[in-house]
């Protein structure tokens, strides 16, 4: 029996940034979720269920390869899962809720976490750009203290829109290509 090789991209970001939706939008399988009812005060008001271990979606590349999109839990109390999921990742996408500046500092902390442990290409998706109160990507970049030479593009995205999600994935893959050719 032929073994299928798995290629992994990690989708990380703060609580309620839209990671599960992002994966859902492009996955060819129904996203495998590990959700539980939110318990923490403050989280319950935002959404009813939250990822506690990981989500994953899958895109078949050819007969031998599959691309897995792994979504991490957003809360830092599950950061042991970030460590596990980051291992062997080809690249990392950090999603940020552009409408909620209260999560920007947490997003930066997550960027620092992955940068220090997994020096692989990374892009930031400034999500929920379809909402009227979304901060523009350039202001999200400033708020996250992402300097121009840090090499982390901050891209507009709406996780419910397939073309928009594809653009972010392609941007990450293009950076990987550049690094591979360098």
């Amino acid at each position: 029996m032929r073994t299928i090789k798995k290629i992994k991209i990690v989708i990380a970001g703060p609580f309620a940034a839209g990671k599960t939706q992002f994966i859902n939008t492009v996955s060819e399988i129904k996203t495998v979720k590990t959700e539980r009812k939110t318990q923490a005060v403050g989280e319950k008001n935002v959404k009813e269920y939250t990822t506690v271990a990981m989500d994953f979606g899958k895109i078949r590349i050819d007969d031998e390869h599959e691309l897995y999109l792994f979504g991490t839990p957003g809360q830092s109390r599950f950061d042991f899962m970030w460590e596990i999921l980051g291992e062997g990742a080809l690249g990392i996408i950090i999603l940020v809720d552009s409408t909620d500046p209260s999560t920007f500092h947490e997003a930066r902390r997550i960027i620092n976490f992955f940068q220090s442990r997994f020096p692989v290409p990374m892009v930031v998706g400034a999500n929920k750009q379809d909402l009227p109160n979304a901060w523009p990507p350039e202001d999200v970049a400033s708020a996250l203290d992402i300097s121009e030479d840090e090499g982390i593009p901050v891209l507009p995205v709406s996780a419910i829109d397939k073309e928009s999600v594809k653009k972010v994935l392609l941007a990450l893959l293009e950076i990987i290509k550049e690094e591979l050719s360098a």
Binding site: L90, G91, S102, S142, A143, S147
Partner: protein, 230 residues
């Protein structure tokens, strides 16, 4: 498009960092617990502040020169409003803000007594330990000065402690080292670093070591094609 948020989670240093970065102009409206204040921003500088009872009035008066004429405030005294309604409130942490870019027509130049860089540093001196922890979250973080930062700091009034902290940022000392070598309290060091980050005079040092992607180019090209087809 307005940038909105809550001062509890996105403090004045953070707000001013965004405003100063691209030298934005517009109106920053803060609904404090006691009053609502409109801050008039021109090219990244806060030049005037006034309490408002009806928010729509702010948006109805677009010509700044006409407005201050109507309010009978001389250009020389504009800074006093900034002092009273902003500087004296920097340690207040409760309120919601909304910054609307553009909007106001500024016709002439106005002197700036409190440059935004100074206000950023003043605000950073009021940060609580919980607030500084949001950015200075790890004592192993490495910061380095941004090129030309010495020149940019010339117009900022720093305390001797802040100067000392800045002199220790060299891309080799970690936050832990800076705290230790400065002999200052951790909170003083962290507040200064937070302020410098907001001013854009220091930045996180980029990791030199990058991991070469572990994938063959032809497979990567296949993935790119596949994603495009989706």
């Amino acid at each position: 498009m307005a940038l909105t948020g809550d001062l509890k989670t996105f403090n004045f240093v953070d707000i001013l960092q965004i405003i100063a970065k691209d030298r934005k102009s517009g109106i920053l409206l803060v609904e404090w617990k006691d009053i609502t204040v409109a801050y008039y921003v021109k090219d990244g500088e806060i030049i005037f502040a006034r309490p408002v009872d009806r928010v729509f009035r702010v948006y109805a008066e677009r010509d700044f020169d006409l407005l201050i004429e109507k309010l009978r405030i001389s250009k020389e005294n504009l800074f006093r409003t900034v002092q009273r309604f902003l500087i004296e409130r920097l340690d207040m942490k409760e309120g919601v803000f909304s910054f609307t870019p553009g909007f106001v027509r500024y016709n002439t130049n106005y002197s700036v007594v409190y440059p935004v860089e100074n206000i950023i540093m003043m605000a950073s001196r009021t940060l609580t330990p919980e607030e500084v922890e949001r950015k200075i979250s790890d004592e192993l973080i490495l910061f380095e000065p941004v090129e030309g930062s010495q020149d940019r700091l010339k117009r900022v009034e720093l305390t001797p402690e802040e100067r000392k902290v800045f002199s220790l940022v060299n891309g080799e000392r970690t936050v832990y080292d800076i705290r230790k070598d400065s002999g200052l309290e951790n909170l003083t060091v962290d507040r200064a670093l937070y302020g410098f980050l907001a001013l854009g005079v220091i930045k996180r040092k980029k990791r030199e070591k990058k991991q070469k992607p572990s994938i063959a180019l032809d497979l990567l090209m296949k993935i790119i094609e596949r994603i495009r087809e989706l």
